[in-house]
Structures are given as C-alpha cells and as structure tokens.
C-alpha cells in the first residue's frame, strides 16, 4: 500500500538507531501511522482480539507447564494439584481452558467476516491461505492440549482421532502406531503431545507474523470491498484503531470473564474429571464444541475412509476459496443473491455444530447429510457459478463516497 507518511527521526539518538536498526521506523510506519481504511466496522477488531488470545494462551500455558507433569502416572494428579494447591492455579488453568474456546469463537467470527466481505480475493489470497494454516495449527494444538489433563475425554478423544489415520489404506496401521508410539494411547503419546503442544503455539505465532506481513502489503480490506484510492480513504492506525481494538477487546473480555469466573466448566465435559481408564470408554464421547461441525461431517458418511477424507476435505476446501469464488466484487454488501447463500451457510455450520453433539441416528443422521452436502455445495457449486451469473448492486466509486452516499440515502 502506498503510504504518504514517512518516518523522520527527530534527534541524534533516533537517527543513529534508525541507520542501524530501523525499529522505530518499522513501528511508526507499520503500527502507529499505518494507513487504515476509515470505514472498518467492529468485525475488523477480531485480528487484534485473536492476537491477544494467542498471547494469553502462551503466557498461561508456560505457567501451567511449570506445574504440570507429562506422565500417565502424574498428569491427572498434577492438574488437580494446579486446581487445588498452586497459588491462583485454578484461575490460570480456567483462563487457559476457556481461552481455547474464546480463541476459536474469535477465529470463527474472523473467518466468517473474511468470507462475507471477500477478504480472500485478489490481491489477498496469501493472507487467506496463511490464515487457513493458522486455523489448522490451532485445531491440532487444541486437540493435543485437550489430551494433557489425562481425563477420560482426553484419553478417548485421542484414541478416536488417531484411529482416523488408521483408515488410510496400506500405511494406516503402521502410521497409527508411529503416532501413538505404541499399540494404544499411553505414556509415549502423552509425552509427545505435551512436547508438540508446547511447540506449536510458537509456530502459530510465526505464521501470524507472516499473516500480518502479507496483510501490510495491500493493506486492509473494508466493508465496501473497494481498494483504498488515496489519503481521503484512510486514517492512522493509532489512535483510531488502537482505541477501537482495545474497546472491542474489553467487551470480548467480559464474555471471557463470564466463563472464567461464573461458568468455567460449561464448555468442557464432566467426564474429563475422571482419570483416564484404558479399559472403559465413556457412554457418550464428543469433541470440544469448536470441532463439532467437522465431527458431524465425519459421522454423516457411512464409509469410514470416505468420512475421514470428507472431514479433512472440509478444511482443505478453504485453501482453494480464493479461486472457487469467481465474483470480482469483493463485498457481500453488493451481492444480493450471495447474501442469502451466505446466511444459509452460517446457519448450516451452526446446525452441523449442533448435530456433532448428537447421536448419529434417525433424523440427526439425515440432517447431518443434508448440511454436509450444503457445506460442500456452497464452496464447489454456489461460489463458482454465482460469481458468473449474479447481478451486482450498484457500487459506490470510492470508500469516502460510499459513506457519503449512505448518509445521503439515510437522510432521504
């Protein structure tokens, strides 16, 4: 993005530093003065909220690792030790466990925002793909983290998910044993999950930096989807969006704190407070809520291998989104037909989430199949075809004009 603003060191010290390590220049040009479209709505605050989620998880996670013991003999007791003995251990663990849910809540809103406003379209394809990688890493990290408390849900969740790999022809069985480090989920599995659960957030952090780097080449998309045409369309990131982001984050924290302090186990399962038992499976086993839509897709298919492929396909299809959507207009605001399909898609995902928690029989199984079909049809049929035939609404000629014309319409 063309920036009219250029950093000028003010005194001898900053000039000296600037020619050696242009840290102040970078901060100034990419954070404080970064030209940002002036019409961003609150859906654009979730990037910052997600960054704070990641930082929160890393800080609380490092602390939990100080008190946790990754061994099948000690893991469950060490988590209880954190809950009962460690000073504020209950608080730090509840922040971490609910933080995962809040992280996913924020990332879903962030993704649905990108989907509606066409933030994945040219020239922002790489931003979107990096985001998909982050999402995939988040799923893997969350899954491994859920195994660490070594409760019944930890154990059987790990068993079920790793057994998915076993469906692959030829290599399935040996690959499963390699991932497990044995014939069943046991101490080697727990130890490697702990190691990777500690590692992956830092990988995520690295990809987040790439995500932001890629974002800062074309700059932010915005609700009208038009490119920034000049200074009249932007404001400085600070103070306009720092304040807006912090305000949104504060509101987000209210919900976060509700769960931490008033309902800390609402999003978990009671069975995970029973220590892992390799001889008894819980009566009803479900993944965490943020994985339920994919779980519903997995179970919608009668064939085991096809179910696994379809589940991974549900995430894989996201990577191709920039080329599946053929519409040149970015924002859903000017796509009258797309909006209906989009709303239907959001509802579809919510229903899939609901179905993921139900027993896959009768009406639930039927609905899983219908919603799974629409999930894929949205990406593979609706977006490619609709972009070619949809009649777009009249577009404003620029970001500034769009806001003016809306005011004028409202005035009339």
């Amino acid at each position: 993005m063309d920036t009219d603003y250029k950093y000028e060191p003010k005194n001898g010290l900053t000039r000296w530093l600037d020619s050696r390590l242009p840290l102040m220049r970078f901060t100034s040009e990419h954070v404080l003065q970064f030209p940002t479209p002036k019409n961003l709505n609150y859906f654009w605050t979730f990037g910052f909220i997600l960054t704070m989620c990641l930082v929160t998880q890393i800080i609380t996670g490092i602390i939990l690792a100080m008190h946790y013991a990754p061994s099948t003999l000690l893991a469950f007791d060490s988590v209880e030790h954190i809950m009962r003995n460690v000073n504020y251990g209950w608080l730090i663990r509840y922040i971490h466990s609910n933080g995962a849910s809040m992280f996913f809540l924020a990332v879903f809103i962030h993704m649905f925002r990108g989907l509606y406003y066409g933030s994945y379209k040219e020239p922002r394809e790489v931003i979107w793909i990096l985001g998909c990688i982050i999402y995939l890493l988040m799923i893997v990290t969350a899954f491994m983290g859920y195994v660490l408390p070594w409760g019944q849900m930890s154990f059987w969740g790990a068993t079920v998910i790793i057994n998915l790999v076993g469906t692959l022809p030829l290599i399935g069985e040996s690959l499963t044993q390699m991932l497990l480090g044995g014939f069943a989920v046991d101490n080697p599995t727990l130890n490697r999950f702990f190691s990777l659960h500690y590692l992956l957030p830092f990988i995520i952090f690295g990809v987040v930096l790439l995500h932001i780097w890629a974002l800062h080449v074309p700059g932010n998309n915005n609700p009208v989807g038009l490119s920034v045409q000049g200074k009249q369309d932007t404001v400085a990131f600070h103070p306009y969006y720092t304040v807006k982001d912090f305000f949104a984050y504060t509101v987000f924290l209210l919900l976060f704190c509700y769960f931490i302090f008033y309902n800390p186990n609402a999003l978990g399962h009671a069975d995970n407070y029973i220590e892992a038992d390799a001889m008894v499976t819980p009566a009803h086993i479900v993944p965490e809520w943020y994985l339920l839509p994919f779980y519903a897709i997995l179970r919608a298919v009668p064939d085991k291998l096809a179910g696994v492929l379809l589940m991974f396909g549900a995430i894989a299809v996201l990577f191709f989104l920039p080329w599946l959507d053929t519409a040149k207009v970015r924002s859903g605001r000017y796509r009258p037909v797309f909006r209906y399909f989009y709303v239907l898609f959001v509802i579809d995902c919510l229903i899939l989430g609901y179905l993921g928690a139900q027993v896959p029989e009768g009406i639930y199984l039927f609905l899983s199949r219908v919603t799974t079909i629409y999930y894929f049809a949205f990406f593979l049929l609706v977006l490619p075809i609709l972009g070619r035939i949809e009649k777009m609404k009249p577009m404003p000629i620029g970001i500034s004009n769009s806001e003016l014309s809306r005011d004028m319409v409202a005035a009339e």
């Binding site: 009962r84 003995n85 504020y88 608080l91 730090i92």
Partner: protein, 173 residues
Amino acid sequence: MSDTLDDDKPTRRDFLYITTGAFGLVGAASVAWPLIDQLNPDASVKAVSTIEVDISSIEPGSFLKVAWRGKPIYIRRRTNEEIADAEKDDNLNLPDPQKDMDRVQKKEWLVVVGVCTHLGCIPIANQGEYEGWFCPCHGSHYDISGRIRKGPAPTNLEVPPYEFVSDSLIKIG
C-alpha cells in the same frame, strides 16, 4: 476542543485519559499478580514445613540425618567429652563467635541444618580438622558445635527452629 488547545488548563479529555489509564493500570496489576504469585510456595508446600523426629534410637556419639524442607538436618547426640571440647573453644577468636550453649537447647543434643554456609553443599559429619563437619566442595571445617573454624564459609551451620516435644521426640520447624 480547539478552543482549549492554546491554554494550559486541563480538559475533559485529559481527565478521561488519566482515569482510563489509571483503571488500565489497576487492571493490569490485578492480572499480573496471580501470574507472579503462582511462583511462590503453595499451601501444600508450606504444610509440610514441620516434621517430628523420634530420637530415642540415637546412641551417644552418633547422629541422625533427616530431611526438612528438602534439606538435611543433623541431629547429633554428643558425648560428655564432645560437649567439653565445644565449650572449651567458646572464647577463642572464632570467625563467627558464638557460645556452644547459645547453639543448643540441651547440651547433649545438637541440631543443625546440614548445609554449608558457603555455597550450599552438604558437609560430611565426623570429618575435618575439628572432627565436627567437613565440606568437601571448598574445604570448610566445622567443629562439634557446628561452628565454622577454617575455610571459606562465612558463618556457623544454621540452627533450625525446633523444640523437644518429649525426651524422645523433637519437632523441627
């Protein structure tokens, strides 16, 4: 706001900045405290900071080594000669002057933390030039009262808080 920019009077906006900043600081501090306090020993650690030891089986001239707060404690039952040796040296020019009677509750029993006051190694009993303790790490010699006599250690072996519950039971901590 432009009419207030030229004079130095505080504006409503200054008030908002300061109150928001103050609230933010209080909030940040209240979040930071649990993250720091978790490093401190918790109640379960503090709860085991007292131990009771049965000393009835210790013969005169021998000692018992027990663990207290993760450190060794020497409980030594001294013979009359050893007590006399310790008291004989009370008025010498010691590095850390202390009378033997100030280091014991009953002359027969010496209770010291078995951690060298130099750099934390464990001195070996009945060794060294004074036949009290000798620290193998850097060569500190302690006498039969646990006082430093020679070597780099700056102070005498620490006497932990203890009390005799009965003639055969001692409570440390």
